[in-house]
């Protein structure tokens, strides 16, 4: 039975049916199909919830191993990881039926440790952008020179000093961003959307071998 369930054809059949119905429900106003598609979406949310649990168990397996074997340089971090998962989970259990969890032991580390640390890390991005821009903006070719000039104009257009230097710089900045950049970005978005559709079609007919063989014993 287990080998039958792991056959790629079953995966393809389910993916094909769900994809077909979802597309039908997007284009056509047939309440029965729309209800079914909504049910599929709710079902997917539930499956992903269990996948998170499965993910936790897989991660736990690695960290328990580290703690048991006292893996040098790692095992104490594994304990921290474990406690960071378990303490908020256990603290939140009594409030699990409520719409939002307000236990301080759950919210305090998130609001006053995780969020400020994340903001501090985000603040370093500027330095990395500066360093990346230094390399990208070197005028080694015609294209790089155009990029350099456009980049400088956009930077000046977004800073108050740009308008002081020449009052047309903000106009050029607007043109570069709206007329120059937007069509390019839209073209990329359209092609990315086409890529997703084709990817879905390949999954549905089983041509995307690396996906249809997940868990089926082939690569």
């Amino acid at each position: 039975m287990s080998s039958v369930l792991r056959r790629p054809e079953i995966f393809m059949f389910i993916a094909g049916v769900v994809m077909g119905l979802t597309l039908f429900g997007y284009f056509f106003n047939v309440p029965q199909v729309i209800d079914l598609v909504t049910w599929f979406q709710t079902f997917a949310t539930h499956v992903s919830f269990f996948a998170v649990w499965l993910g936790f168990l897989t991660a736990a397996r690695i960290h328990i191993y580290n703690i048991q074997r006292r893996t040098p340089g790692v095992w104490y971090f594994s304990i921290v990881m474990f406690l960071s998962c378990l303490i908020p989970f256990l603290a939140a259990l009594p409030e699990i039926a409520k719409p939002s969890i307000e236990t301080p032991i759950y919210t305090w580390p998130f609001n006053w440790v995780y969020t400020p640390l994340g903001a501090a890390l985000y603040a370093t991005t500027g330095f990395y952008i500066f360093s990346a821009a230094y390399r990208a903006f070197r005028a080694r070719s015609l294209e790089a020179t155009i990029l350099l000039v456009a980049g400088c104009l956009v930077m000046l257009g977004n800073a108050p000093i740009g308008e002081v230097i020449w009052n047309q710089i903000p106009t050029i900045n607007d043109w570069l961003q709206m007329t120059g950049q937007t069509p390019g970005m839209r073209a990329l978005n359209i092609t990315a959307a086409l890529g997703i559709v084709y990817f879905g079609l390949r999954v549905a007919i089983g041509a995307e071998k690396r996906v249809t063989t997940f868990g089926a014993g082939g690569g």
């Binding site: 106003n29 960071s84 994340g118 014993g217």
Partner: protein
């Protein structure tokens, strides 16, 4: 189903999308048919894909590890899910290469629900290369969120100094941070995302870049199988159709002929 009934049940404003979708499906099967007839459509080169083998070879020669991340992406059930799945297909190829040349592989990611999928993908990749014993689940490093993942990757880059660095998937601000950090340690960097807001950063920091839809075509392209390549050739054909449509609209609209805009609003 007569035309009137179709008009009644079709959601307003989605008719043109439906036509484009039907065209996509038609082109898809034309590509397949041509491949079966022994005339597979030609596929343009994707330098970033060709560079994957080079990056793994570089890591093997230097005796250093390879580091892979699908970025922050999102849950598999989110709208970023396809990018995550596409990234895992590329990870599968990278893992096979690393297994073949005994290159240590590290995978850093932040999607809890993707752990089982990645675990299985890596296990199969090592099994396929006849080295199942080389697969160690400790290759997978799960970080619970974007900032922890960025910190973790920065740490791995500094401590392990990988020779090859791959960041392919739904990337956000982390792309510029980790991409630049990979440059500091001298890693060969290959990036790719369909998140257009991050593409400029990835182009600035990476040696090779997969732009937009190219990450979805990766698995078929890497397979070198004409049958699979045929399934992505239609993507380029539909782009020509859309460009023709744009050009027609560009010419006809100023002349007061509104067929194209009416069709797009249908």
């Amino acid at each position: 189903m007569n035309t009137l009934y179709l008009e009644q049940i079709l959601f307003a404003g989605r008719g043109s999308s439906l036509v484009v979708l039907i065209l996509l499906v038609v082109f898809f099967f034309i590509g397949l048919r041509l491949a079966k007839m022994g005339r597979p459509p030609k596929m343009r080169r994707l330098p970033a894909m060709d560079a994957i083998d080079e990056a793994i070879g570089r890591a093997a020669e230097m005796g250093k590890p390879a580091l892979y991340t699908p970025g922050i992406t999102g849950s598999l059930a989110s709208e970023q899910g396809p990018q995550m799945v596409a990234s895992i297909t590329i990870l599968s190829y990278v893992a096979e290469g690393c297994a073949r040349y005994d290159v240590p592989l590290i995978v850093d990611f932040a999607q809890g629900d993707a752990i089982p999928l990645m675990d299985e993908t890596l296990r199969l990749a090592y099994l396929k290369q006849g080295k199942p014993e080389k697969y160690d689940p400790k290759m997978l490093n799960y970080f619970p969120g974007q900032s922890p993942m960025v910190t973790g990757i920065l740490g791995h880059l500094q401590r392990l100094r990988p020779a090859a660095f791959f960041m392919i998937g739904g990337l956000y601000y982390e792309s510029v941070v980790i991409g630049e950090a990979a440059n500091f340690v001298g890693a060969m960097t290959i990036g790719g995302t369909a998140n257009t807001h991050q593409l400029p950063f990835i182009i600035a920091v990476c040696d090779y870049v997969l732009i937009g839809e190219e990450i979805y075509a990766a698995s078929a392209y890497l397979s070198k199988d004409p049958y699979q390549i045929a399934t992505i050739a239609g993507e380029d054909w539909i782009k020509f159709v859309l460009m023709a449509l744009l050009l027609l609209g560009f010419i006809l609209e100023p002349l007061g002929i509104k067929y194209i805009s009416s069709f797009l609003r249908w």
